[in-house]
């Protein structure tokens, strides 16, 4: 509705003046709009933007601090990466859960885009040598989702660009043999696990949903609030994955156990959590596809 948008721009709402919350929102909103306009001309979000600035200067300065930061943070995460069962230390939980499920699981291979997936899962296990550089590639996949709220405003734009035109020539093209026109629906977004020391639910979405992090977090929360797993597994870790589709109107279709646990009651509880949460909120109006694929991993730790 272009007409609507025009009128919108003159109205007081877009001024964004007032309290900080409102201001922040208006700011991010403006950024996302700008991103829309530009999307398509740039390639891979962050990298694309950087090329606009003088690279050399930046690289020197940032790379040094970047590598330092990396080394520190990765050092923190590596131990938890190696263990199958994460320590319930508060800070690490979420990170671990994001990274862990991907590598070992057949699930995401079936997700219909091997190339993407390879990038997600390949790096950590086979090449233990340069973890500082390889591991974050996993993170790369995960970034778009939280980029907007936490980082500087332009990132909203970057996230957008990322979804529009896939990989940056100098970056991803090198990694994988390009297969011409890649479908937007091949995009995968991971959301950090929602949960506590014993229960958690991690979410993986397939579809151009990067910009709508809020949506994923909505459905994750709703399903979590409907999850009532059996509790007693004799100190063993239990995990099951459920896959389903969300249609435009929020309807849940084709829910099924994707990766069963060793306990069918646990599996059924996971399926029921999804069933009881239907209908989910309608897909965001600006979401490009007709449906969104979701994989949820339900984990119960002793």
């Amino acid at each position: 509705m272009p007409a609507m948008r025009e009128s919108r721009s003159e109205n007081p709402r877009s001024e964004g003046a007032g309290d900080p919350v409102r201001f922040a929102a208006a700011h991010a909103y403006a950024a996302s709009k700008a991103g829309e306009a530009k999307a398509g001309e740039s390639d891979f979000g962050v990298a694309g933007r950087l090329r606009l600035i003088d690279r050399k200067l930046l690289f020197r300065a940032i790379a040094v601090s970047g590598l330092l930061h990396l080394a520190v943070s990765v050092a923190g995460y590596i131990p938890s990466l190696r263990h199958v069962r994460p320590t319930p230390a508060p800070r690490q939980t979420a990170i671990t859960l994001v990274n862990l499920p991907a590598p070992g699981r057949a699930t995401f291979k079936r997700v219909a885009q091997q190339q993407e997936v390879k990038e997600v899962e390949a790096p950590p296990p086979p090449k233990p040598k340069p973890p500082a550089l390889e591991k974050p590639k996993v993170a790369e996949k995960l970034t778009p989702i939280e980029v907007k709220p936490k980082e500087k405003p332009p990132t909203a734009q970057e996230a957008k660009e990322k979804t529009q035109t896939r990989p940056a020539p100098e970056d991803a093209a090198k990694e994988k043999p390009k297969t011409g026109g890649e479908q937007e629906s091949n995009l995968v977004t991971n959301l950090p696990a929602l949960g506590d020391a014993t229960h958690s639910i991690a979410l993986q979405a397939e579809g151009p949903i990067h910009e709508f992090a809020y949506y994923l977090s909505q459905i994750q929360r709703k399903i979590a609030s409907n999850w009532a797993p059996p509790e007693n597994f004799g100190g063993r870790r239990v995990a099951a994955s459920v896959r389903f589709r969300i249609e435009r109107n929020g309807e849940v279709t084709a829910p099924r156990i994707d990766e069963p646990s060793f306990d069918s009651i646990f599996d059924q509880a996971a399926l029921r959590a999804v069933a009881e949460s239907a209908p989910l909120p309608p897909l965001p109006a600006e979401y490009a596809d007709e449906w969104l694929g979701i994989t949820l991993e339900f984990v119960l730790r002793p």
Partner: protein
């Protein structure tokens, strides 16, 4: 030697890792909410004061402004913790003073569009500034509360996926002089209208699942008969005029059948018939009284009241009458069961202490919870279409019965009606069809 591509990549990685740690911290915050079933949480939402462009700030019926009504609707939806705009600028250095950021922002603009007053609503995700939806509601002049209700329901739907109840309506029996007639009122007590003018006695109205039809018991022809009333045109059609007492109608969820308590074969038994009252099929066979049936939302089971063990209590059976079993063992009398549209709870009243109180339980009779206590005697609890609210009649000390709306746990009680004379026998409609009222 690292190529520049590598630099770029490591930079991306750096950003990613930093963000992930931030995300981790956030996820950790959310973890405190607990994620296992039963731990309720509310979404935080701010409704900003609306902007009025070239229009008067005309209050709605009842004196509220549009934004005040929207806040109330959302608060009463039981999904939100609603906030106004912040009254102060928080000091970032003083964390104790820092308010928790809201998750959603609802804004509104009231303005004239082609001579008509419209409300433009917009819901934003506060963190990203993404527009979740944008919708125009015809507000009219004088402004129509239902336009604001429609906006509230859309917000509920876009945040939770559930249908809101702000546009829903409640039918009930009201006493006027000697007559008991069926009335209809908005869920917030406004928009009262009288549906029947039979000058007789009407009882126990029940909405069909689509909210289009009401079935109720009428004594207009001398004895208790069943009647259906189409809400679109107010036309009444006889449903069952069998000899004896035809009472307590309850719709099958697909609208094709009605269960009721009929006595034409001697003793009050439960029957199902089609929606024209034909093909009555008997479901219960006992010398006791069976009445007050209600279908489960999937239509497979019926909960009802029977005194076959001596005292009236709740029983449940398959919708063909098989597998009947007792559900409640509470107090001397349990009655008036209503199966939640979500299927997960049954609400009913039981005579404990010196009056009837409202309880809910799982459909297998387990997990019983009490919703009212020491607050008059309660009758006819009925679920809202969202399965989160209940409307029921309370008999107060003076003897007058009035309707109250509350959440399923008995919280947030508010009086629905306040005119003189008894009001009781409520029924809560779905609101989907009513959306058309505001385009």
């Amino acid at each position: 030697m690292l190529s520049s591509a590598r630099f770029v990549r490591s930079l991306v990685a750096l950003v990613a890792v930093l963000i992930l740690s931030a995300v981790g911290a956030r996820a950790q915050q959310e973890a405190r909410m607990g994620i296992v079933k039963g731990t309720a949480f509310k979404f935080s939402l701010e409704v900003q004061d609306f902007h009025y462009l070239e229009t008067m700030r005309t209050p709605l019926e009842g004196g509220e402004s549009c934004e005040e009504l929207l806040r109330r609707d959302l608060q009463q939806s039981d999904f939100f913790e609603v906030r106004r705009e912040l009254a102060f600028i928080p000091d970032p250095a003083d964390s104790s003073n820092m308010p928790k950021p809201v998750e959603y922002l609802a804004t509104g603009i009231v303005r004239k569009k082609w001579g008509e007053v419209v409300l433009e609503g917009e819901l934003l995700d506060a963190a990203s500034g993404k527009v979740m939806f944008r919708q125009e509601y015809s507000l009219g002049s004088p402004p129509d509360r239902r336009a604001v209700h429609a906006y509230a329901d859309d917000i509920v739907r876009h945040v939770t996926g559930e249908a809101g109840v702000a546009l829903s309506r409640i039918a009930f029996v009201g006493v006027i002089g000697k007559a008991k007639e069926v009335f209809l009122v908005d869920y917030d007590g406004f928009g009262l209208s009288q549906l029947t003018k039979l000058g007789s006695i009407c009882l126990s109205p029940r909405f069909s699942a689509d909210g289009e039809r009401l079935a109720f018991t009428s004594f207009a022809q001398g004895e208790a008969d069943l009647v259906t009333l189409a809400l679109s045109d107010g036309r009444m059609t006889p449903l069952s005029s069998r000899p004896g007492i035809d009472s307590a109608p309850a719709w099958h969820p697909d609208g094709s059948q009605v269960a009721a308590s009929l006595t034409f074969e001697g003793n009050a038994e439960i029957y199902v018939m089609d929606d024209h009252g034909k093909k009555a099929q008997r479901l219960t066979f006992s010398p006791a009284i069976e009445t007050a049936p209600c279908f489960s939302p999937d239509g497979s089971r019926i909960v009802f009241t029977s005194d076959r063990t001596g005292e009236p209590h709740l029983w449940v059976m398959d919708s063909d009458g098989a597998n009947s079993q007792r559900l409640s063992y509470l107090g001397k009398w349990s009655d008036s069961a209503d199966w939640s549209p979500r299927g997960d709870r049954i609400v009913f009243v039981a005579l404990v202490d010196d009056g009837f109180d409202i309880f809910t339980m799982a459909p297998d009779g387990s997990d019983r919870r009490r919703a009212t206590a020491n607050d008059g005697s309660w009758e006819n609890p009925r679920w809202a279409p969202d399965g989160r609210h209940i409307v029921a009649a309370k008999r107060e000390r003076g003897g007058q019965r009035r309707l109250f709306v509350m959440t399923a746990d008995g919280g947030g009680k508010r009086a629905l009606t306040s005119f003189s004379g008894d009001q009781y026998n409520p029924a809560w409609s779905s609101s989907r069809k009513l959306r058309e009222a505001t385009r």
